[in-house]
Symmetry: none
């Protein structure tokens, strides 16, 4: 990654040769320079028109710089864009490829590093896709509820258990639906209007979680769902849906983004409730 991106390199070459280019191709060059950010989605015709030039001139331009044609040149712009906007995708790709290529050589340190890297990318995306309106709405719901129920199963259960712990430091009445003794149903049973449910679930969505979510909704409780997408079964019954997209590395789902979001939620709530930070995170004093 030493040298900057491929587009810059290419544009540099164009600049160098610019003087020696025929009139029309200079026009194309100027146009590219001026619109580099949207070349990736333009057709030859758009560019030709924009440069007041015949489409074939654009093709010739590309060929002049060593590409077989316009398409190949455009690919440079497209790929550069992709790389910028889907760093995680390329990450995971790379990692997956590494594994596919040499499974024996992959030592534990590499595994750990890759995994941590992937988690970092996950947090980057969390910031990027952060939705203030929804976050705010979620804090609202929590702030105005007296009883807060929390449900999640299997992999996500750890998250629920953490939230329950954290909320325990507020004045709210906290109910962790942990399913102990198979009593999910009984534990959520008393939820009602004015209460809030935090439900955390990812594909393939635990049925206990879905059950609780539906029940909560029937009982007019507010539901905060933490899930992957607006389309899953949780979304339908949620008042607020907070999206978290954990990239999976090694076909293995991370949890960092989810827990980070939940902690952020708790911190924001603590502020809203005017717990002084020290008071809330009194945590620090009788903690694990």
């Amino acid at each position: 990654m030493a040298v900057s991106n491929a587009v810059d390199q290419f544009m540099q070459r164009v600049a160098d040769e610019f003087e020696s280019l025929p009139r029309q191709l200079q026009g194309v060059a100027r146009y590219l320079e001026q619109h580099r950010s949207s070349i990736m989605l333009q057709k030859v015709n758009d560019i030709a028109e924009g440069s007041n030039v015949h489409p074939s001139a654009v093709v010739r331009f590309a060929q002049r710089f060593g590409y077989t044609g316009f398409s190949e040149m455009q690919a440079v712009f497209r790929d550069a864009f992709r790389e910028r906007t889907e760093p995680s995708g390329s990450y995971q790709h790379r990692i997956r490829r590494v594994i596919a290529e040499r499974p024996e050589k992959l030592d534990e340190t590499q595994i750990a590093r890759s995994f941590i890297d992937a988690c970092r990318v996950g947090l980057d995306e969390l910031v990027e896709r952060f939705d203030p309106a929804r976050f705010h709405a979620a804090v609202d719901v929590l702030a105005s509820a007296e009883h807060i129920y929390i449900v999640a199963v299997r992999r996500s259960f750890a998250i629920a258990s953490y939230i329950a712990y954290a909320l325990g430091h507020t004045q709210k009445r906290v109910h962790l639906v942990d399913g102990l003794g198979g009593m999910h149903r009984e534990q959520i049973h008393s939820i009602g209007k004015g209460d809030a449910l935090i439900a955390i679930s990812f594909p393939p969505y635990g049925k206990e979680t879905l059950f609780c979510t539906r029940l909560a909704r029937q009982r007019k409780a507010k539901v905060i769902a933490i899930s992957e997408s607006d389309l899953g079964p949780l979304a339908a019954h949620a008042n607020v849906l907070l999206k978290v997209d954990e990239g999976s590395v090694f076909a293995f789902r991370a949890l960092t983004s989810t827990i980070c979001l939940c902690q952020a939620l708790f911190v924001a709530l603590a502020y809203r409730l005017e717990l002084k930070p020290n008071e809330a995170a009194h945590s620090g004093d009788f903690d694990a």
Copy 2:
């Protein structure tokens, strides 16, 4: 959230109708949702492939939502992107709107952003201070133990519960010391030589965790401690100590680095045990 852009509106419609869509079209919907930012430069085939669907299904999807075909639907994404990036006066407009929209909200958003940022820094440090020798040693201990006990209380309990879940996917016998019914002592009681204990604790160190750690050591079990420093009380009784330094923000301790490390540990173990990734993270299939 007034009248945001065309893409959001469209995706909203998709979300609304999602439930009533045939299976394949739901797949397409999910794909779009997950990749909205790059739909504009994908071909029908890319999307079809990404959604595990025949190209014609993608066209049908577009038509279902009132477009004449895929191209017209894609134009929505393309135009939205252009609008955002064209250097027209819209930029200042946007900024002004953002400011106008969130006068109060700014606070919570800031809190959340700072918190997530802090977590990112935490992960950065985790990579930097990563100690391969210790990590390797930890994997060794786990790989050679038949029974694995896990203990942590309060804030760290969530981590323990996650580890227990993850290890449940291996052949190891996993014992989560959860203290249910006040039975920490009884739960750890049967630990012995050849077993391993994972203990997670941070200042001010839960006494249950310390108790278990000491007992495990007496019984000649191997102890993996996850803690802040080499000097704490855990260190003395640990065979391997993995250091995690969560920065505290708002006088509030994050958990991301810890859980990230634990997941990395599990992934490395899974590889060591030659669980195929898919097998281990079969997780994905009957997960939360």
